[in-house]
Symmetry: C2
Subunit: 149 residues, 2 copies
DNA sequence: TGCGACAGGATACATCGTAACCCCCACCCG
DNA sequence: CGGGTGGGGGTTACGATGTATCCTGTCGCA
């Protein structure tokens, strides 16, 4: 288990949970750590396998419960188009985000944009009550685009 | 099998395929019709069940193949957050779209917005080659929002 | 007539997600 | 201290979603 800057982030996230008065359990910490250490988003079962190897998780439902919880807390995002989960590096609170998913290397970058709020506002203006916004950009990242230095 | 305005739309879509020089097969027509007649998006297996009842489809892979094809042609959209497919009512060509998905009634509205192109342009400006954009707004539609006439 | 390309049939399987039920344990309260 | 309570997680079993693989039929074309 290597030490890395991501650990700090993970600790920050845990601290946010404590402040909100919700429980920081061993399993939740493990899941968060695993996602922070992963270079890429992890599928639920991929995550499950890693946790099981560490003796930290027993069965899929446990993992899904934790993922749902962490997503509700804004610490984890689910990438719908690839059915994978990624730890949020930007903020420890629920927020809107846009993801760029490279189909070649599998890498994902989380970002933000005023367009997100614009889109939400457009929906609200038409009477739609926005609870969640999914914005995922699929394609090739700069490093994987052919004809490039 | 009732006659309805959606059939016209479905016919328009088929006409677009002919013009592109791709094949309009029985199965593809059936899938398109089924999606056009459905009031709500259909899951792949839900769609499969309907087609099988009509003797039109044999097994899941056939349905997925047709769905992939139609999506590539811009006639069908996949709603990632609910794993369902809907016929496009807007255009017979590939295009960007934003969806509003009501978690209460399950209804979906397809729309468009200049923000979609803005988001794509932002990504391109940073060297990301955009191939597909998924934008889904989840919440309550006007009719399902409480405290409303 | 033979060939290549494409659509679809058929089987089996992989992956993703959840329902239902139980138990444990921290915590609160009298 | 004894009992109640609720959240978190273990366990089993299953449902839903999506695919790999191989084979068959059909059509256009040289």
């Amino acid at each position: 288990m290597t030490d890395c800057s991501a650990c700090t982030r993970s600790a920050d996230a845990s601290a946010a949970l404590v402040e909100r008065g919700v429980r920081v359990t061993a399993l939740r910490t493990r899941v968060l750590d695993a996602l922070h250490h992963a270079e890429k988003p992890l599928g639920a079962y991929e995550l499950f396998d890693r946790l099981k190897a560490d003796g930290a998780a027993s069965a899929p439902p446990a993992v899904y419960r934790v993922l749902d919880f962490l997503e509700g807390q804004g610490l984890v995002h689910k990438l719908q188009s690839i059915a994978a989960y990624t730890a949020c590096r930007a903020s420890a609170a629920p927020h809107r985000a846009v993801f760029r998913i490279c189909r070649a290397c599998g890498g994902v970058r989380e970002g933000t944009s005023p367009r997100l709020d614009d889109l939400a506002a457009e929906a609200e203006a038409e009477g739609f009550r926005v609870e969640h916004l999914v914005v995922e950009t699929l394609g090739l990242c700069a490093a994987c685009t052919p004809g490039r230095p």
